[in-house]
Symmetry: C2
Subunit: 108 residues, 2 copies
DNA sequence: CAAACACTATATAAATATATATATTGTTTT
DNA sequence: AAAACAATATATATATTTATATAGTGTTTG
């Protein structure tokens, strides 16, 4: 039955689109992109991120909380510092593509 | 001056993050992703998109309007039909990456 | 030119996200 | 144990997005 196969395809596609949409919503904010861009170079603690991004502390914590909640990052505590790293390979892939398109031409 | 160089880097990064954020915001919705996914295979008119996506007409028009406004797609009229195609290469790149991560394992 | 068709626009209520200020929780140092 | 430090949590006003209903525009057909 072509009709029902087609239906299934749409449902499958929609499920995928929902999942991909969740990922993009987690990334679709300049602050969070900036943070993930820095983290794509390796693990950093919150003070590092604050200095490298120029994001003020309350906003920083709020946006890091979003990234934690949406499973984009994982953390590890060492003494007073909390270190962040990217935990989503899909997020990392998107960050790389964005880097190509939006940062590749920048002077170093 | 290391300090001012650093400042410049942050400003440049932020400008890039703003631009990339605009792109992701345009994509960060399941309906729009589904539409762009279909369009990544080639040009389609609105009736095609409605059938292929299962999105109801008013929502479809609203989301197509968003994609037009944000310059993700371009259109061309042929008689009564309006044909859509992806006009943003950055969007296309992101769609491809998402396909790899979220659709690659699907049964055909 | 009127009806049908394909599509776009407007309106509005509800849900989410953002900006910003303030308070709180752990950890180390003295 | 108190002070200082690094980070998280809460609160709230504003803005943006989404869902949904309804109206309108441009094109072809009879």
């Amino acid at each position: 039955m072509i009709q029902s196969e087609n239906k299934l395809d749409i449902q499958q596609l929609r499920a995928n689109a929902d999942a991909a949409g969740e990922l993009l919503k987690a990334l679709a904010n300049p602050d969070r992109l900036l943070l993930l861009c820095q983290l794509s170079q390796g693990e950093l603690n919150v003070s590092d991120l604050e200095a490298l991004s120029g994001i003020q502390q309350p906003t920083l914590s709020q946006q890091l909380a979003v990234l934690r909640r949406k499973k984009m990052v994982e953390t590890r505590r060492m003494g007073k510092q909390v270190y962040y790293r990217i935990s989503s390979s899909a997020a990392l892939s998107v960050i790389h593509v964005l880097y190509q398109h939006f940062c590749a031409g920048d002077a170093k």
